[in-house]
Amino acid sequence: MTDTTASPAVAHTPTIPAITPRIVAELRAMLGDDGVITEMAELRTYESDGLASYRATPGVVVLPTSTEQVRDVVRLCAREGIPFVPRGSGTGLSGGALPTPGCVLIALSRMRQILAVDLPNQRVIVQPGVINLHVTQRVAPAGYYSAPDPSSQQVCSIGGNIAENSGGAHCLKYGFTVNHVLGMRVVLANGEVADLGGFAVDLPGYDLPGIFVGSEGTLGIATEIILRIVRKPEAVVTALAAFPHTDAAGQAVSDIIAGGVLPAAIEIMDRLSIAAAEAAVHAGYPESAGAVLLVELDGVQPEVAEQSAQVEAFCRAAGATEWRLARTDEERALMWKGRKSAFAAAGRISPNYIVQDGVIPRTALSAVLREIEALGARYGLRVANVFHAGDGNLHPLVLYDERDEGAFERAEALAGEILRTCVASGGSITGEHGVGMDKRGYMPVMFSEADMATHQLLRCALDPERLANPEKVYPTPRLCGETPGVYRPHPLETAGIAERF
């Protein structure tokens, strides 16, 4: 019934209680007939997320419409010991919403209400299924927007953004999802409903919203989210610079940042990804270029004007062969369209591809790109590069053809080598797509056993039974509930202790 392909780490396969007709009946009573899916053909729709190489069939899919319904479903899961997996729009690129075989998949796509908009305080409250872009669309007439803008923003959900701590092109200046979330209502794995954080900043107590964001659905389900919105800037300049090679583009980025300019966004695409974008959306990128740099500056008029002149000078000095300013909103949108369609566009130049998400210190850019090129040559595979250059977040696209014998395995191995290279340069295995199922096998490249055991104390605090999205993020679960050692009071002199060290 299920087939989970090519997991990079030993799967943790506890025996999962079956979804019996009695349980289905109970779910139907909670959610109504249209809130419960059991048909195999329909279940198949939910068997993978944006990472289609991993597939598994859930035991049942439920579509709650309120916090109470989520709570009731989770309580039932807790009572029966059945794992559950939250799902937003299913665009995740790390297999985060991949069902645990036989689980209850809780799809939040019917929780699509924007519950409150408070412009004077720059806050909105949304349900988790709300589409990222819809928040901006709702507040745009009043001159506001929601800053985190993943390229998938037309379809991905706020709940998914929360779970992945999603970024986007503009997070260099404006921060990631976590910097814009103040509070949330969550359903914990035991069915408890809790309010984390709130409306104001710096509230007393542990930063639980800060922990929940980025926890990839492993600590519970967010059902209401308090977001900050920001004022649209007075001026925006979007420009494109063409370079003969990514090295030169990378140099321009370093010079811009070293010059004290903080662009809203600064993106690089290499020759292959330019070709792909052109084939897909005809963004008008100079096809002969070895690299394209996309820069956006925003803020007050005089600052943007002066800094765009500075950026142009930096680009020209680094060897830009062309400098183009978007003169209209249409031109701006077109420049961005090429970049934002980069992943899908890879399909134009290759039947299959793997998207990676490694991060490096910005200064390691040329060295790492060269290393990636060499690795690609060694594996006999092409790698297209698109990246958030300002924060060193690379998206190497490993291109392969699954019809070639062993190509998928080679592509996966190459993608893994690339991640190791990123970590070796001082970076990370993931900047915004999350660890999920895909990269949990690489967590030990970044973290020691002690590190991961320590992280998972949080899981033990909030979900000791490991029911919430149990297979994701960490390769080996920490056992919870080791009873703390016996308290042994000892009347030692403080000074005496200090002498020992």
Binding site: P120, G198, A461
Partner: protein, 397 residues
Amino acid sequence: MADPSSGETLAALLAFADGEGLKVLPRGGGTHQGMGFPPAGGDIALSLAALNTIIEHAPHDQTVTVQSGLPIADLQAHLAQTGQWLALDPPLRPGATVGGLIATAVAGPRRLRYGGVRDQILGVQVALADGTIARGGGKVVKNVAGYDLPKLFTGALGTLGVVLSASFRLYPLPADSRTLVCDAMAPEPLCEAVQTISASTLTPTAIDILGPVDSGQSCRLAVRFQSRVERSVTEQTATLRTLLGALANDAHELHGPEEPDFWHDLDTQEATGMSDEDDWLDLRATLLPGELAGWLAALQTVVAAHALALKWRAHAGHGTVRARLAGKAESLLAAVGALRQAAEDARGALVIEDYAPALAGKLDPWGTPAALDLMRRVKAQFDPRTTLNPGRYVGGI
């Protein structure tokens, strides 16, 4: 008092204390030891003073990794040599360390533009009570691998473990600064002005309201513009004058050396307080920006009703008010109750950051967060024998 010179020694000391049931009070510069409840026990004062090196400063990556006992002032002086800074400006207390800043997460005026500690910390290395040394996060500006340990330890007041070192992102120092200052007879018109500024496209780095600035109720609005582009600063100041209308008639502009001095004085005055007779306390209310005027009105009323002395400073753009209240102990306690209620009714919170020793044990510095029970569960996992800073934190954690 223990003063370990390496993370390993410190961790071994913790493991020993934890095994023996000894209570450990970690300290950085000792500038915030008054924060929270008085500790419920303390066998070892653990100084981080010897862990004070800059491990790595990568100017071109705009990141830094430091040991937590490093004084903030030393770090900033080092970073300034390359035209950078850690964009956090807590009230200045001599000797305050990076570790103390992480543990208390106190924020200053420019949180408006740069965010707080939680928004700038990239990674931590911590020692848990049982001696485990663990890392979370990393040293690059973008990273979502694993649970966000750096945020968990930010503002945790050393109750989950001892931060040994931390990485932060950095910003270029602004080249130009200008501050527009204007006064009003009461806070309301200034709070209204702040709402107008927030709804505009201006990008101030700080918006403060200070009160009282004379023997009456007069307050002062100070709006700071900073940029690497001079015209940005001058033009924004001019636009602000227009926005403020009549309020700006008597406004004056600060630039040149007097400008940073103005802010520096505010940051230090705040820390040194104002009264040596009477009891006193320092509170911090965090509010929705739009609720500021209402809460400040409650502050005036409550202070008058209880015959207390008052000095306050609001980082109005992000809804944070710091106030020192002085007077009789029982009046202070009553005032805190009323003001906390007012803050919570407005969907905010109120914390006592410091208080006269005579008030110890008589007040709850924290209030009760909605998720207190979850916080207890987190504490129980990280420090099951309550070895670290016992009793000081929310709910007596």
